[in-house]
Symmetry: C2
Subunit: 252 residues, 2 copies
Amino acid sequence: MDETDIEYGTPEGRAMIRLLWDPPPPPTRGPRQRLTLEQVVAGAIEVAEAHGVDELSMRKVAQHLGVGAMSLYTYVPGKDELFELMIDRAWAGRRLPDRDLRWRAQVEFHAHEAWRMYQEHPWLIRSNLWRMPLGPHVLDAQEDLYRAVALTGLPEATVSRVANLVESHVFGAARAAVTDTSVSARTGVTQDDYYESRSGFWGTYYTPERFPTMTRIWEKGGFDEEYSDDTWEFGLGLLLDGVERLAGQAGT
Amino acid sequence: MDETDIEYGTPEGRAMIRLLWDPPPPPTRGPRQRLTLEQVVAGAIEVAEAHGVDELSMRKVAQHLGVGAMSLYTYVPGKDELFELMIDRAWAGRRLPDRDLRWRAQVEFHAHEAWRMYQEHPWLIRSNLWRMPLGPHVLDAQEDLYRAVALTGLPEATVSRVANLVESHVFGAARAAVTDTSVSARTGVTQDDYYESRSGFWGTYYTPERFPTMTRIWEKGGFDEEYSDDTWEFGLGLLLDGVERLAGQAGT
DNA sequence: TCGGATACCATACACCGTACGGAGTGACGT
DNA sequence: ACGTCACTCCGTACGGTGTATGGTATCCGA
């Protein structure tokens, strides 16, 4: 679990690439493998899904699969590499939009798929910052998103920026939805009993004088439906409106 | 390092809130403390800055401060709580915009400050998802951002969404800059030697036929200056253009 | 048949967060 | 003045982590 990035030019990096793109057939010499790489990755995802990514450990994955902990290392060089395989496998679930749609609908489809992926695999959010692997499914989805954005006819550098913007926006929204940064949700205090609770944080440290705007938003219920679906679609709409204006009326 | 959120209604939660807002004066009965809470938090940040957040451990912080590991627990209930204090302290460095500026300039100032904060404290990025603490400096900065956005005159729910959008966008851009998700940067292969390198990933797995759009963007240099400053400002501009249009011409 | 490559895994090591309890300290009540 | 006792500091220990090492069982190819 080192923080240093795997350098894809190194021998270990090439081994990782090969594992992602071209998992080797089981060798013919020794005893037969009891598992497949697919099963190992799927088992790891099941553990992350069931117990949370913080509880993901090689021993737990091994136990879940009914093998010894060290046996996993015959399938995978280490935990980081296993995690990259998990990420790429999660991206494998992303469907691609119909190419007959207008560019905006295609980009929105991509955003929806990203949102769905994060909802389905919340462990991605705790982890995506580790490293986005150079896996085939990641790259396929990104390529198709680039393709959809490129339909706008915008210059290449802008296409790349817009695509990153869309991915990043959905990730941010998903992160917010999962970690629930909304103040009201975190404290479990609703607007109703706000004025009654004069002990603890509210009323002693949080004062409407110090936080007038937040107080007003709160009173108007602006925090209530913080992270529903249409919250992130609002932001996406804002972004794509801007893109549409940039593109003039060029796109298909 | 549990993943379950600290519930701010629990006794431990109240202790955390008090630690954040109202650090208790050193008690008068026992031997004098060798350190202050400030020093502990600052020392932890120094360790995170020097060795990376993954290397941050109670033992290392203690060693850096010249005390025993367990002594830290007289200042702080645990590592998670120490981390919340670190985050709030990082937010303390965020300056607030001049209130005489137009709303858009104020929001842009906030975004710049957020960007600066992430550049100065990259360890925030690896961690922000753990939990955004209910600390005074976090809340002060957020309140002021809400205030600036509210100058648009937009409805309260929209103000909250836009403010979150701005924070989330800068975070996403900072994350991208740090983890470097760009393909070219990750592989260290520049456009020049792309066509020469026919071994390894490029030329065996990455084929222009499978990734035509990425290839074209690459050839045009669209990935070159991927994460410079004006990259994220481009996205922010897109967002704020949309907000401006939403607001009509209302803001100050 | 048998050599050798390979899978599986028990053990061990270094490191983590932190519970526990003992020793020393120093302000307070008397 | 002095004993009490809250308090700090911290050595030790426990259960967890990722994984290096090496032993043993297994099975293919010659």
